[in-house]
């Protein structure tokens, strides 16, 4: 169903694309250190997540279809569907943006496999936390800014960890940034577990 709303998807992609371009323009070809590039990458990821992932639930409330959804599907199914979509969407986004990013920024990536892994793990972490947070934000008047406010504290450590991992991968050949990637995956797992535990209380509105 979400796929039908092509406009929203396109906007999210466009946003990520434009920010990548903008960032590389501003950087002006100056050789940025690995840390800075990693940070920029994850900033772009974060803001793309903010614009793209909130829709999972916020739009249901805005359009009023939440009631119908609630009537026709059990809560766990709703959450699973939204989670799956957010994960796939964000991973697809990353698959497009990451190569672009590497292309536009000076200096290559020493460890592409590690880069890919850490990006995916971080993306999973962002997407899994964003889904349940989007449900929370949707219940409170569906304002996009609130979503960002409540997401930031939860996601900030993900960003920091992921940036560190990515920086390592940019610098050091052959590294897989193992510990950070595991951390991010564990975080995703924890977020998904908590989401299921807590979702019903958020979704069911009495």
């Amino acid at each position: 169903m979400e796929l039908r709303e092509k406009s929203a998807l396109n906007i999210a992609f466009a946003f990520a694309f434009i920010s990548t371009l903008a960032v590389s323009l501003v950087a002006g070809g100056a050789a940025l250190g690995a840390r800075e590039r990693a940070l920029l990458f994850w900033l772009i990821m974060f803001f793309s997540a903010m614009s793209g992932l909130s829709h999972a639930f916020v739009r249901e409330e805005e359009r009023g279809t939440a009631l119908f959804l609630r009537l026709s599907s059990p809560p766990a199914a709703v959450l699973s569907a939204k989670l799956l979509f957010n994960l796939l969407f964000f991973l697809a986004l990353q698959a497009v943006i990451a190569p672009l990013f590497v292309f536009f920024m000076e200096g290559g990536v020493a460890s592409p496999a590690g880069f890919a892994f850490s990006a995916l793990a971080g993306g999973a972490a962002l997407a899994s936390s964003a889904t349940v947070l989007s449900a929370i934000a949707a219940k409170s008047g569906a304002r996009g800014s609130l979503f960002t406010v409540i997401s930031f504290p939860v996601m900030l450590p993900v960003l920091i960890t992921a940036a560190g991992a990515t920086a390592d991968c940019i610098e050091t050949p052959g590294t897989l940034a193992g510990s950070e990637t595991v951390f991010l995956l564990a975080f995703s797992g924890a977020m998904i577990a908590v989401s299921y535990l807590v979702f019903e209380y958020i979704w069911i509105d009495e």
Binding site: M1, R4, R63, G64, T65, L67, F68, L71, D205
Partner: protein
């Protein structure tokens, strides 16, 4: 013969928002074979009461009992229900259907309500009358024993109304029905009445 183990019952129901009581002390019982209408002027809380009875909201005080329990036993329609505009009618019904038996009912229901030509059209293009009929279909597609209908005939022309009443009449021995309404015909259909406001 009306089945006695299908009913919707509310006792001493009260609902308040932000310190303002909308209604209180409401008792209601709808059983298979005796549908009940909830009547009252606009704003008297009919929709809210309906939602409480359907378990979509909690009352401030009082108790609701439904037999059979469970979310699958409930069919609900309301003017406030919004359907996914970008889906086609058949897709939406497929989504709402909780079993293959239910899916099989989609086409016959669409025909019965004169929508068979629009099965593959996007809901966003439907007129209000068509939407109303489709909403009714989504409420009954799973053949739930308990029906909660909020103004089921609003926005409908005469053929549409007839179709709905015909359908309800054929079912009423087997289902417990509560209708929230301002409309005389809808209220008359029901054996019992609860007035609000």
């Amino acid at each position: 013969m009306a089945e006695t183990h299908i009913y919707i019952e509310g006792t001493s129901l009260a609902k308040g928002f932000n310190g303002r009581m909308i209604f209180s002390g409401i008792g209601i019982r709808a059983a298979a074979g005796s549908p009940v209408a909830v009547t009252g002027p606009n704003g008297s809380g009919k929709s809210t009461l309906l939602e409480i009875l359907a378990g979509l909201r909690k009352p401030t005080s009082g108790e609701v009992r439904r037999a059979p329990g469970g979310a699958e036993a409930i069919g609900f329609m309301s003017p406030r229900l919004t359907l996914y505009g970008e889906l086609t009618a058949l897709e939406l019904l497929e989504f709402a259907a909780k079993s293959s038996g239910a899916s099989a009912r989609a086409l016959p229901l669409l025909e019965g309500f004169g929508l068979s030509a629009h099965g593959h059209s996007r809901i966003g293009s439907f007129s209000t009358g068509m939407l109303q009929r489709l909403k009714f279909i989504t409420a009954v597609i799973n053949d739930p024993p308990l029906l909660f209908l909020d103004e089921p005939c609003s926005n409908l022309d005469a053929p549409g109304r007839d179709a709905i009443f015909k359908y309800l009449r054929s079912l009423q021995e087997k289902k417990a029905i509560v209708i929230a309404t301002n409309d005389a015909a809808e209220a008359d259909f029901c054996a019992g009445r609860v007035g609000l406001g």
